[in-house]
Amino acid sequence: MLELAALTKTYKTGDKALSDVSLTVPKGQVVGLIGPSGAGKSTLIRCINRLVEPSSGKIILSGRELSGLGPRTLRRERRRIGMIFQEYALVERLTVMENVLSGRLGYVSFWQSFTRRFPAGDIERAYRLLDRVGLMEHADKRADALSGGQRQRVGIARALSQEPELLLVDEPTASLDPKTSRQIMRLLIEICAERGLPAIVNIHDVPLAQQFMQRIIGLRAGSVVFDGPPEDLTETVLTTIYGAEDWTAMRKDGEADQVAEAEAVASLAMISA
């Protein structure tokens, strides 16, 4: 369970990116974080594992406080938080396997990681995860030889290899085409369900959020302006989050995605049939 209490972040430049954000994410819940560009979505996610240092407030993960930890203990706590990035953020010149194994860095000694001699369990887990995301035969390829969707799968495998208690996902699909986006989202949701893994998913695309998320949090100018199930996301609410014009523009985009959606739903129907 993740608890944020009165989290505030003011950047050195004076931008107040987050003001007084408090929320709780129980075990197994997948939360969608929506809001206009610059609302502070990435900042919120990055504050949780302290890639961005919050200005004030508390972050509590399964009873342990993360804010104010020293570098060594912070590293130990970071192992419990998996992160997935918009532009995959794989180390391009390492192999897929090394990228997945890099999720274990917090658990092994420098020497083990330097010589690439990870414990047998880690390697077995890495293969299992690669198989789960459908990239078993790509293990020895270099990450820059993969397509966008494949890279994001490696990103997911890397985060999962940490055996995390929480997933932070920053716009996982923003660099992908509509169809691949939906496949990746589906994969993510399935995996979270399999493991009872809570996740915060930062997402630009409102229809996508409504379709996949159990709970939605709307952020505007650094404050939470909506928190509830996707069904409650009415036009009025969306207008408060995005402002009138932005929202209508976005709905047009949503319509353009209909084709991709139809395809994805059709393929799902075939599987479940």
């Binding site: 396997m97 090394e98 047998a120």
Partner: protein, 266 residues
């Protein structure tokens, strides 16, 4: 329940054949052993050197600018004037040669002549040119000036030619289409595109020429290098330290001001 492998080795990235890797490793180790072995060390001399090295470091930390200030300032003036004149002359000569060495502007025979001038200038080290020019023109900064001008030509003309070859053909086409003459083409289509780079390169070369001017003095081509050579020959390490610090300071100033100037001129 399928079972997964529990071991993994990083596949080799550069040399994929195992035998070649072994051969290469053995070759590298053998070279290192033989190469290091061929350096015959005179330990006694090196021990003596330790004390001198300390004296030099001391000289560097407590430089003596005053007792040889006249020599230092003379050498410095020679170096600086040599640097400026040679850069100006070198760049002035480089421009026509650079244009001649650009395939898209020059006819083939001009192209080959200019390219060979560049090749000759680039393949000869400054110091070797300096040796010959000193033999011909006698000791002193004039030989140094010629050396640096000659070296500048190879450097600037080559990069300038590459720049001209990279210009946006569409613009050149547009100008050509108006019926412009060759000179007008160079003036209106080529010059505006390469001018900022040319200025940047000239400033960069100014910097290099100063550094080189400190070296060619060793073979008699004037400048601060000659002063330094004398100081080291006389074991005056504190003066040598002072000269080195002056060189470093000027290079730093030149680097800062040239980057500032380049930004300013953009």
């Amino acid at each position: 329940m399928t079972s997964y492998p529990t071991t993994w080795r990083r596949p080799p990235q550069i040399v994929t054949d195992r035998r070649w890797r072994i051969v290469l490793t053995v070759a590298v180790i053998a070279y290192l052993v033989i190469g290091v072995g061929s350096v015959d060390l005179n330990w006694q001399r090196i021990m003596e050197g330790g004390a001198r090295g300390l004296r030099f470091i001391n000289g560097f930390l407590q430089p003596d600018f005053t007792s040889r200030w006249k020599d230092i300032s003379n050498g410095l003036i020679e170096s600086l004037t040599m640097t400026l004149t040679s850069t100006v002359v070198g760049v002035a000569i480089s421009v026509p040669i650079g244009i001649g060495a650009a395939r898209n502007l020059a006819p083939a025979w001009v192209y080959y002549i200019c390219r060979s001038i560049i090749a000759v200038s680039r393949s000869l080290q400054e110091i070797i040119i300096a040796i010959f020019l000193v033999a011909m023109f006698g000791f002193g900064p004039f030989a140094g000036f010629l050396t640096l001008s000659f070296a500048t030509i190879g450097f600037i003309a080559k990069l300038l030619a590459e720049d001209i070859e990279d210009i946006d053909e569409a613009q050149a086409e547009a100008i050509r289409a108006t019926g412009a003459s060759w000179l007008q083409l160079v003036h209106y289509a080529v010059q505006p595109q390469v001018m900022p780079r040319l200025i940047g390169l000239s400033l960069y070369r100014l910097d290099i020429n100063f550094r080189e001017s400190a070296v060619i003095g060793i073979v008699g081509a004037g400048g601060i290098g000659a002063t330094l050579n004398t100081a080291i020959d006389r074991y005056e390490y504190d003066s040598a330290g002072a000269i080195l610090l002056v060189i470093i300071a000027i290079v730093m100033v030149a680097e800062y001001s040239s980057s500032y100037l380049r930004k300013f001129l953009q």
